[in-house]
Subunit: 227 residues, 2 copies
C-alpha cells in the first residue's frame, strides 16, 4: 500500500484540505495550499518489487560487455525487473556527443554516465552500463556518488590477445595501424579494478553464463528476488 | 508474455545453441555464440502497463513547477505508473554541476536534461522535468530529439508579479537587488512556448488541480490508462 507520508529532503508534507487523517503542521507558505509529498526511492522499489542498482561492466574493447549487458537485460526483464542499458549507442550519440577520447573527455564521459546511472538507481531500476571505463579513479568517483551496495563493479576479464583476435568491430586492426589514437590496451592504459564485486572470465564462459553469474550476485544481495 | 524476438537497431538475434525453436540465421561473428536480443522499449512498456513520455514543465521561478511535479509524481505512482522527476535537486548538483547560468551553459543544461529525459522515456518511464528552461530554441531541440507524442510541453503560466510576490526562495528580492545576474523574468528573458501541449494557470488553480489536468492529458493520449 502506498504511504502518503513524505520523506527525504524535499518540501515538508503539508496536509491536503479535506484529508483530515493527515497531520496538519503549521503552514508557512501562504500560496502552497497542498503538497502531496515526494515519492521516495523505497516507494518506487516497492512498486517494482526489486531494488535499484547499477551493474557497471568494465573491460577491454571486445571483452564482451555489450553482449553480456543484453543477455543480462533479457534475463532481468523476463523476471519482471525494470532495467535499462547505458551504452555507446544511447550515450555517445546523445548525452555525450560533445565529448571525444582525450583523458579529460573520457573522465567527463564516465562522470556523466555515473550521474545518469545514479538517477536510474534512484528511480528504482537496475541500470547496466557497458563502457570500457579504463581509469580506476573515474570508476571510483562513480562508486563514491552512490550509496554503499548500489554500485556493482564487474570486471569483464578477457586477455588482450583474445580480444584482439576476435576484433569484432575491426578496431584493434585500425589501432595497430595507427589509425585510432589512444586506443585502450594498445596505445592507452586499461586499469583493471583491484577489488571488483564480480569478475567474469569471458574467454572461458558464454555471455549467457556471465549474465547468469551477475544475476546470481543480484539475488544473493537481495537486489532482485530469487524468482 | 515476453517475446524473445529482438528488434531495434542493436545486434541481430543469433540463435542460442540448444534452443532449436529459435531461427538460426547465418552466423557472421565466430566468437559471439549466443545473443539474447535486446529488450525493446515496447516490451518495457508492456511490463509497466503504460507508455514512456516526458512531461516538460516550463515557467518562471515561483510559478509552481516543482510543486506540480511532486503532486503529479504522487498521482502517477498511486496508479502504478513508473515515474521520475528531473529537477534542480538531482541535476544541478549532479550531472550538470559543471554548468553555470550563462546562455551557453543554460543551453547545454537543457540539452543534457533532454537527453536524460529521452533515456527515461526509452526505459518506459514517465519523466517529469521541472526547469525554467527559458529559451524556446532549447526546448524545441529537446522536442526534436524525441519521437512525436513523447514530448509534452507544459507551460506553467503564472504572471511575473504573482511569482515575485510569492518569492518562495527569496530569489526575486535578490535579483531586484542585483545580487543574482541573468535572473529569468528580471534580467534575462523568458520565452513562453507558442503551442504547448498544455497550459496550467497556476494563479487560478491549486497544484493538485494542475496535476490532475496533466494526468487527464496523459490518459487522453493513452500514455497511462484511465484506471
Amino acid at each position: 500500500m502506498p504511504s502518503l507520508g513524505g520523506s527525504g529532503k524535499r518540501l515538508p508534507l503539508l496536509a491536503s484540505p479535506g484529508k483530515s487523517d493527515a497531520p496538519m503542521p503549521e503552514q508557512k507558505a501562504t500560496n502552497i495550499v497542498w503538497h502531496a509529498g515526494a515519492v521516495t526511492r523505497e516507494e518506487r522499489e516497492r512498486l517494482n518489487g526489486h531494488r535499484g542498482a547499477v551493474v557497471w561492466l568494465t573491460g577491454l574493447s571486445g571483452s564482451g560487455k555489450s553482449t553480456i549487458a543484453v543477455a543480462l537485460e533479457k534475463a532481468l526483464w523476463t523476471r519482471g525487473v525494470r532495467t535499462y542499458i547505458l551504452d555507446g549507442d544511447n550515450i555517445r550519440h546523445g548525452l555525450n556527443k560533445n565529448l571525444g577520447f582525450s583523458p579529460a573527455d573520457r573522465t567527463e564521459n564516465i562522470r556523466r554516465i555515473g550521474e545518469v546511472a545514479k538517477l536510474f538507481t534512484d528511480a528504482g531500476l537496475v541500470a547496466v552500463t557497458a563502457f570500457i571505463s579504463p581509469y580506476r579513479a573515474d570508476r571510483d568517483q562513480v562508486r563514491a556518488l552512490m550509496r554503499p551496495g548500489d554500485f556493482i563493479e564487474v570486471l569483464v576479464d578477457c586477455p588482450l590477445d583474445i580480444c584482439e583476435q576476435r576484433d569484432v568491430k575491426g578496431l584493434y586492426q585500425k589501432a595497430r595501424a595507427g589509425q585510432i589514437p589512444e586506443f585502450t590496451g594498445i596505445s592507452a592504459p586499461y586499469e583493471a579494478p583491484l577489488t571488483p564485486e564480480l569478475t567474469l572470465r569471458t574467454a572461458e564462459q558464454s555471455p549467457e553464463e556471465s549474465a547468469a553469474q551477475v544475476l546470481a550476485y543480484l539475488v544473493a544481495r537481495v537486489i532482485v528476488s530469487s524468482r
